[in-house]
């Protein structure tokens, strides 16, 4: 147990530092070490380091941590290892909220209506995650209502409702993007596949408090979340207020997903894959899973982003393509392992 945590600790220290060495610009190791320890002497290197690479690694870590924690939380409260912000429509809901905000404040249509001039860039950028959060909350509660009223409250019904809502809201948000700008292919690709290419350091200052507060709440409620693993009735007999806990957890998932999706697009499979690995490697109780997801999810995303940057010369692969490719192979392996 201790060795595993020590290894993970080393990985957390080594991954962001290692990832700083990769990028389009040719920075030598000595220059990078100088930038980290004493500050860069060359102003170009200074800009590359502090405005491109470091923010990207930092935001990448937060994105991986947040998505993995959101997935793990959804899996715990639904008692279903296949739950994930993507399958539950949370990503699509956040995408819809962000698309509506984009249509209203950052599109050709908005330009024609004179709305863009009313809002400076920064306030739009801050309104974006808020709109995404509202969209994510909307989808979460839509899934809950559909699952309980239309189908019944079983977990598999919730998954079905989640998939239905996910498709419906994705279609809506793509249509809205098309409305705002008929040649909106780039934006659609961004929402579908995600990217860290446009990351700026202030994204981290929005994400950091959301991820930190969410993780803190989930750690505080760790014992309550564990009780849910044996079912709602079991948790109630231990004094847990199940409905309240479920609403709180869903709101946390919505907040985490929204702040990530609104800046980095939809990145799939992280919320599904990382909790799986953490549970089989470190343990299944909620506190261990949450901490493990923060650390491993963060490192995973940092390295996936490195791969996205260096895999093809002179261009970047959207990060969602890599996570989906790794995720699908991972699940084929898990399935074959189970069969054996």
């Amino acid at each position: 147990m201790n060795k595993k945590w020590m290894f993970l600790g080393l990985l957390v220290i080594a991954s962001p530092i290692g990832a700083l060495f990769f990028g389009a610009a040719d920075l030598s190791g000595a220059e990078l070490i100088q930038c980290i320890t004493q500050g860069c002497q060359d102003p170009v290197n200074n800009m590359i380091f502090w405005e491109i690479r470091a923010p990207r690694v930092f935001v990448g870590f937060l994105v991986g941590a947040g998505l993995a924690v959101a997935g793990a939380t959804l899996q715990n409260i639904t008692r279903n290892g296949l739950a994930d912000p993507y399958l539950f429509g949370v990503v699509s809901g956040a995408g819809l909220g962000a698309s509506i905000a984009t249509l209203l404040f950052d599109s050709k249509l908005a330009e024609q209506l004179g709305l863009i001039q009313m809002f400076p860039d920064l306030s739009f950028s801050l309104a974006l995650p808020f709109a995404a959060f509202l969209g994510a909350l909307f989808s979460v509660f839509l899934v809950q209502i559909l699952a309980s009223k239309t189908f019944g409250s079983k977990t598999e019904h919730m998954l079905l409702a989640g998939i239905a809502v996910s498709f419906m809201l994705s279609a809506l948000s793509h249509f809205i993007l098309f409305l705002g700008e008929p040649f909106a292919a780039n934006k659609v690709i961004f929402w579908l596949m995600g990217s860290l290419a446009r990351v700026e350091i202030w994204y981290a200052w929005v994400m950091l408090p959301v991820v930190t507060i969410s993780v803190a709440i989930l750690l505080l409620y760790g014992r309550h979340m564990d009780a849910l693993l044996l079912g709602d009735e079991n948790a109630k007999t231990l004094g847990v207020q199940v409905t309240r806990l479920r609403i709180l957890s869903l709101a946390i998932c919505a907040a985490l997903t929204a702040c990530i999706v609104s800046y980095c697009g939809g990145i799939g499979f992280v919320g599904l894959m990382i909790p799986h690995i953490v549970r089989s490697w470190l343990g299944v109780t909620s506190r261990i899973v949450v901490i493990g997801c923060v650390l491993l999810g963060g490192c995973f995303m940092v390295w996936v982003d490195v791969l996205a940057r260096v895999a093809l010369p002179d261009q970047e692969i959207p990060i969602g393509i890599i996570t989906s490719a790794i995720g699908s192979v991972f699940f084929l392996l898990v399935m074959s392992q189970r069969r054996n």
Partner: protein, 277 residues
Amino acid sequence: MSSPRSLIATNVNLKIGQQQILSDVCLNLGAGKVMGVLGPNGAGKTSLLKMLSGQLASQHSVSWNNKALTDYDPMSLAKQIAVVNQLNESVFALDLYEIVRMGLLPHKSLLSRQTRDDDKSIGDAISRVGLDDKVKQTFNSLSGGEQQRGLIARALVQKAALIVLDEPVNHLDIYYQHQVLRLLRSLAHKLNITVVMSLHDLNLAANYCDHLCLLDKGKMVAQGSPEQVLTSQRLQQVFKIPCQVSLNGSNAAFRVDFYPPDEVEIDVAPFIENPKT
């Protein structure tokens, strides 16, 4: 005013839709007693247990420790009453220790940590149910009897004065049936814990319970000691099968024997495939 730590139900009624599940059920059970709830399928046993444990709202008709269950907040109720429902699989591979540790939940605030005393109480509870060698084994890989004992250990960590169990010996072989019931009886008599459970086996109920309630169609048919409740005539009336109740002289054990009703010829022809011609 009744004695402290007694479980009192006064005219408990439960109606779901148009169906009356429980009608005017009354009972009074003192501390340290083992009560068995008996009755045929659909008699209302599980519903009564849920009312007695606060899982179903009882509108002030059930009280524990001189206080209506509805007046307890969820955490205070969990400190008083532990529930062992029919076995539930864990979706993720929780081990026995983690399941038993859940019993600490009602006693811990969000910020409090697990102390050495908590570790000791978990270890003691696991030893008491005889599962020391299974501590790190995943809960789902334990046998039915071991899982049941694990959940009883969790109830002990919960430090509840009343343990309510829904068919605790269901699916267990005869060895584990006696083991689990012997454990519950010894907990009740030695630690003064009140135990309420539903049972299908009348012989086990007669020999391990101090007090029995016999339900039929949601109504209390009889309650009292096994000698008072288990009479041939009453059981025949409730279960619709001829039976005989006797007392085994050598160990004073109760014995209830049911006899199959008169043979009725059942036409099995429709269930047999047509022979090939």
